[in-house]
Amino acid sequence: MDFDFTEEQRLLKDSVDRLIADRYEFEARKKIMAEPDGWSRDIWAQYAELGLLGLPFEERHGGFGGGPVETMLVMEAFGRGLVLEPYLATVILGGGLIRAAGTEEQQAALLPQIAGGKLLLAFAHVERQSRYDLFDVATTAKPSGGGWVLDGAKSVVLHGDCADKILVSARLSGNRRDRDGIGLFLVDAKADGVARRGYPTQDGLRAAEITLSGAKAEAVLGEPGRALPVMERVVDEAIAALSAESVGLLASMQELTVEYLKTRKQFGVTIGSFQALQHRAVDMFVSVEQARSMALFANVMVSETDAAERARAMSAAKVQIGRSGKHVGEEAIQLHGGIGMTMEYKVGHYFKRQTMIDLMFGTADEHLAKLARMGGLFGAAKAA
């Protein structure tokens, strides 16, 4: 067992950390948010230059050949910087789905474009009724002239407003909540029958409502009707990546809070001298470390081929990240007092991003229930 990074990983970490420190200072971030896309094309090009946009792809697809640890390093840095670019949507989700389900031709055509910063993607899976169930799909796909035509509505599509192409889950057959009968389709965002309404999310990132009315799919990914396992696997990768982002958020909140306790004076002393607050800060620290450990676990387990094992690990990570996140976030605000409540101070932005992460791909409570249904993590429960 070795928790140390390789030389290459250290170099990657240094350059990403430097880029984020350089471009994502708090005031600079406000300006980026005010750009037309709500993020920066210029910084996106820098990610491409650094190889981040092809990080998980194979070298023959213009990639970096990185594994989960590399993704984890990048996502943690993105968490610290409160990065606004569509990395999760394009590289982790979009790129992940194409890698997992696309034919060699599709991969060779699309992945290099992503890596080069030329193609933005989004994954449209949430529907009005679906909540966190990936298999709950009412959008339909019907064969037509050798291709597919899609009808339905997708909600809260992360960065769906700027995507060039959208990966859409749609039902070919069966009932709304059947695990079988789901296909994954690539749709050009400008195709006839695609309508989008973009908006900011609570954390200052972007999403879109997307309506498909007889929209022609440009391609189908994987075997039509059997897309769910692939979608689940890529969502697991997204959970692992988000866990790492959370670690960046939580560690930042915890550090800001300790810093504040050391400098804020009331009653003639720094408030960090009150033991009541010291203990609270310690509990926050413990929470962050638990989250960090679970993010590591998630990133180790994300390449597990046994889908059930992997799902257990991802649910466990989502539970820990969600619980630590709520604890650390709420305490960070509380211990800052009024200043923590303002948009002018960084801590609240971390708190909001963390709150949104909990709402993505199932909350901590959802995953706790799921993990419990799967029998927990250790050993098998004896039948009663």
């Binding site: 609570q202 509380q334 948009m343």
Partner: protein, 398 residues
């Protein structure tokens, strides 16, 4: 011991219920129920409706529009008002500056300020906190220097709620820099339109504008605007803060929220059934309801103990109400997010005249902003840490 209300008390409650639910303007109640922020005009209209019935300032002395109610009647008034989603009268006017002026002001001041405060003809804001003085309020530095028949005021306040709407501010200012910190403070009131006052908005994390910074740069205030005696302001501030003994728990507000969450959870579906049919969700809600009931009983005990006590004497038990009441309100905002699930993510502040349809269910818009905004209830009005210090010292003798 008799935990039942008397027939008269019950009759009073029924009357209050009927008034709030049948006579009070329904449009305002619906907006509160939906969790949408009220406009300045609506807040004023709401208080004027209450005042027309003599119910804006029941806690004031009778000659200034107060009611001769027993503590139980006050409790019922508040509980029924909150459960009916009727907004409470503006606290700065009715439970802060009003009682202080009624108790410590001179006749001139009472006549000048009280009727207008009751009717929200003047909107008051509270200038206590400063950047360097939050929990340690007595360290405040805003200076008021006596110059002939005027005070010259210099300094800064922060977190001043709704200063952007305010006509008047009641301010704690240092009038004797040499005295012990609690003994050199005065309670001075003045119009927000005076020369030298600047209000700067602060946006809170929910995206709203409810707090401000207020700067004073050589503001000249007539000396007659001093309330009570010079350098006795700290006593008045303690009286003011001690006045809000029971309302702070906001039990009725939380009851209304529970009700609303149940209604909305019946509309939302998880898989093939309503969210409200989900055992886990129901357990979480029920757990909060248990805490809320216990809090209500605790509040009634505090109410009962209040009989015959002097007004404005802080009761340390009210710290329990603040501690529990704030956390329950916060927990309910989390459950409201759970109701709407992923639809809590879009940031879509409801603005007047907006005609784009809401993303997701129309009750989704305030879920996340409320959760963010309600972090404040454990910070302001004496933070929950300060409340614990009070209980440790005043009740436990630690």
């Amino acid at each position: 011991m008799d935990l039942n209300f008397t027939a008269e008390e019950l009759a009073f409650r029924d009357d209050a219920r009927r008034y709030f639910r049948k006579e009070f303007p329904a449009a305002i109640r619906e907006k509160v129920e939906a969790g949408h922020p009220l406009s300045k005009e609506e807040i004023i209209a709401s208080q004027r409706a209450l005042n027309a019935r003599g119910w804006a300032v029941p806690n004031w002395p009778k000659e200034w529009g107060g009611q001769d109610w027993s503590p139980v009647q006050f409790y019922m008034y508040q509980d029924e008002m909150q459960q009916a989603n009727v907004p409470a009268p503006l606290a700065f006017n009715t439970s802060m500056v009003g009682p202080v002026i009624a108790q410590f002001g001179n006749d001139e001041q009472k006549k000048r300020f009280l009727p207008r405060a009751a009717n929200l003809d003047d909107w008051w804001c509270q200038g206590f906190s400063e950047p360097g003085s939050g929990s340690d309020l007595a360290s405040l530095r805003t200076k008021a220097e006596r110059k002939g028949d005027k005070y010259l005021i210099n300094g800064q306040k922060i977190w001043t709620t709704l200063a952007q709407h305010a006509d008047w501010i009641f301010c704690l200012c240092r009038t004797d820099p040499a005295a012990k910190k609690q003994e050199g403070i005065s309670f001075i009131v003045f119009p927000m339109t005076l020369k030298g006052i600047t209000v700067r908005p602060i946006q809170t994390i929910d995206g709203g504008h409810e707090v401000n910074e207020v700067f004073f740069d050589d503001v000249e205030v007539p000396a007659e605007n001093l309330i009570g005696q010079e350098n006795k302001g700290w006593d008045y501030a303690k009286f003011l803060l001690g006045n809000e003994r029971t309302g702070i728990a906001r039990v009725g507000v939380s009851k209304a929220k529970v009700q609303r969450i149940k209604e909305l959870a019946a509309l939302e579906r998880v898989g093939d059934r309503a969210l409200i049919a989900d055992e886990k969700f129901r357990e979480k809600l029920a757990a909060v309801e248990v805490e809320l009931k216990a809090l209500e009983m605790t509040q009634l005990r505090v109410v009962a103990a209040e009989r015959g006590q002097a007004k404005g004497k802080p009761n340390p038990a009210s710290s329990i109400l603040k501690l529990k009441g704030s956390v329950i309100q916060q927990q309910l905002t989390e459950l409201a997010i759970e109701v709407v699930g992923p639809f809590a993510m879009p940031y879509q502040p409801v603005e007047a005249g907006q005609n784009e349809p809401v993303i997701g269910p129309d009750y989704a818009t305030e879920a996340a902003p409320d959760y963010f905004n309600y972090r404040k209830v454990s910070i302001y009005g004496g933070s929950n840490e300060i409340q614990r210090n009070i209980v440790a010292k005043a009740i436990l003798g630690l």
